[in-house]
Symmetry: C2
Subunit: 457 residues, 2 copies
Amino acid sequence: MTEISSRLEVEDLQQNLRRVQERLAQKLEPAVLRSELELLHPADTAYILEALPLEERLLVWDLVRAEREGEILLEVSEAVRESLIATMDSKELVAAAETLEADEIADLAPDLPEEVVQDVIRALPQEERVLLRAALSYDEGTVGALMDFDQVTVRADVSLEAATRYLRALDELPAHTDQLFVVDRGGKLLGTLPLARLIVTDLEREVGAVMIPESVKLRPEDRAEDAAQAFERYDLVSAPVVDLITGSLVGRVTVNGVMDYIRATSSESQLAEAGLSKEEDVFAPVWNSFRNRWAWLAINLVTAFIASRVIGAFEGSIEKLVALAALMPIVAGIGGNSGNQTITMIVRALALGQIQSSYWRKLVGKELAVATLNGVIWGSLLGVATYLLYGNLALAGVMALAMLLNLLLAAGMGVTIPYMRARFGQDPAVGSSVLITACTDSGGFFIFLGLATLFLV
Amino acid sequence: MTEISSRLEVEDLQQNLRRVQERLAQKLEPAVLRSELELLHPADTAYILEALPLEERLLVWDLVRAEREGEILLEVSEAVRESLIATMDSKELVAAAETLEADEIADLAPDLPEEVVQDVIRALPQEERVLLRAALSYDEGTVGALMDFDQVTVRADVSLEAATRYLRALDELPAHTDQLFVVDRGGKLLGTLPLARLIVTDLEREVGAVMIPESVKLRPEDRAEDAAQAFERYDLVSAPVVDLITGSLVGRVTVNGVMDYIRATSSESQLAEAGLSKEEDVFAPVWNSFRNRWAWLAINLVTAFIASRVIGAFEGSIEKLVALAALMPIVAGIGGNSGNQTITMIVRALALGQIQSSYWRKLVGKELAVATLNGVIWGSLLGVATYLLYGNLALAGVMALAMLLNLLLAAGMGVTIPYMRARFGQDPAVGSSVLITACTDSGGFFIFLGLATLFLV
């Protein structure tokens, strides 16, 4: 048997995938492929499942041993997870979930049928059940939802020697244990003891004397984004999560949870930008793809329809000077691009907390200045092009002026939209691109055709 | 004096910033603010510098102690770094760079004047100079560029006791040391020894017997993106980088480098999507902003101009039926949105290596099916709306058919563009949105006006 190795060099992923595809094509004894899958890391199996079309994917999924299903469900993308869960009955789902820890079950829970979640809760030992209930209670996007319960705690009044003995008794430390959390008798967090410090320090000293008393502390209600920024800023591997009122340690956040979060939110915003409601399985059935995409198309249909009615109001002018029809999309299009540049920059700076309320006026001024510069340069260029094409000096002037005005509109709205949304407590990122484009399309048509009606026809 | 604490709860960042702003406004003795800045983590100082307008930013920068300037330059965004470096002379820059390690200097190097880099190289001790030359030799986007040289190595034939004694002699371990790298006399990597394992294992055993012989190995030439995916997949904190031929350890990659990389590439793609060449300092001078944005606007001007000429070719038809002018942007707009949905999904799946060459045909089929469904639904809807507005059944039919055809064009190009670009070794992500929008704009106008000319006028 050719060996399928896990955790080797990076391109092995593709090799694993090709080997599985060959096995599927050969239609050999499933036992061969089954035992090869056994050797793979759950994340590698997840990769293979994501890259296979639905039919082959389900063939492979059937060969995965029941005890590993939970881990693999955690690793696959949400879209692929749905396709796998759809083929499992309640009993299989409960069995898969039971192999996981409380915080992991909480991550899966939104994709599981409600009765499966209830069955899993009932089947858990009391202590785990409390943790799972806690984990389920935090909203997505909070530190509570990123948190796990694998923290290793130690008391301040023991020697490092005793602490080391205690760690040995644990046999293996949870992944990402770079530090121990020092707590008092009541569970209140007193400080942290990095393993690197434990190793290099005299074992006779006391934990309390060696620990770092002051460190980054998160609270379950904090925004996950703030925690992610703290991890990046201070290069953390793990951070304690404490209760605001009692100061007691409730869990920890690790860098791998943060990294998954960063990847997930950045891909969500990328997908939202393109009008996909969520991550889409490339091999999704047509109907699922349609559902994932229709909402955005419908919204754009509405804004396009409004823009169309703005043009409709000037049909008389277009009839008299048909060149307007050919020129108007340029004004609208460049306005949209320029507005998107402004709004993207402002939304990013807002997300990073870089814009203090005192600086908005300054920002509007700057953006209007950039728009004026752009408007003069591109407007003149387009004015010249218009004159060369149509030999109409007045039309050229209207084109140049409309361009300048629409760029100013784009800059003004590009600052105002995120400002107003942030002010009223909304996420300035969501749908900002649709809003600005709607303004610059309808606005661009109105400005250009309005000026043309005033001065030309 | 009110204390400015570093590394506390997350919202302290905003408090620090406000305090600095107050101090600036009070125009007190600079010594007060200077000593407060001393207490801040370099990343926190970087945050403040990023959030201040240029003038205030430079006032604060002047108060930063020279020995800390290097660290802070590393932490600020590229745009802000440029604004700071512009105010420093060569001597200051060399002094700042000399406080950093080789891999850090290499990260700064692209923003430094060439003669400063040469001066720094000359001023370094021989050993560091070799490392810096190596670090400078790797291209951006490779593992070599992510790598640092802070790995702690240990020999396989010593006892854990001896290894521990060696670590104590180091006094402090480098950040993100979660494992020791086990090497032979020639520097060849034999395996890794996690600290967590070192702590829980009997100290009399030998390193070689306890180490993990097989683990993820990266090579300096590997794509940084592949390394990032390996870190996410296997939840790594650090990974060794080895030379392909000799197998010897050349450095390591840590999770914080990977996290910075993920953040940087995701924000780059977000910025590129919106047409910004690079991250922009919100308080950048107008001219800098213009330079960052003009290229994209120019490209869009060209594509908009082409679309405008397509319309120009049908001016005769529009003159006869002016409703065409009002309706045509709807067909082009919805096609663009739909094409962007397809291309975004395909580009993402390609980046994750999820599309095998054998599945392209399947993908085209699926996307065309989704487009047909969308086309029939939205096309009919718009057809009805057109009939209600203009009472022209033939025009309604042309509208519906043009919508369907442009959505099919969008789906076809949405798969074809990334396929062709990946095939010819280009990055399918760059500018994909411009390309698809150019196709669906010009294509949409051509289809709609062409059909109208055939059947209506």
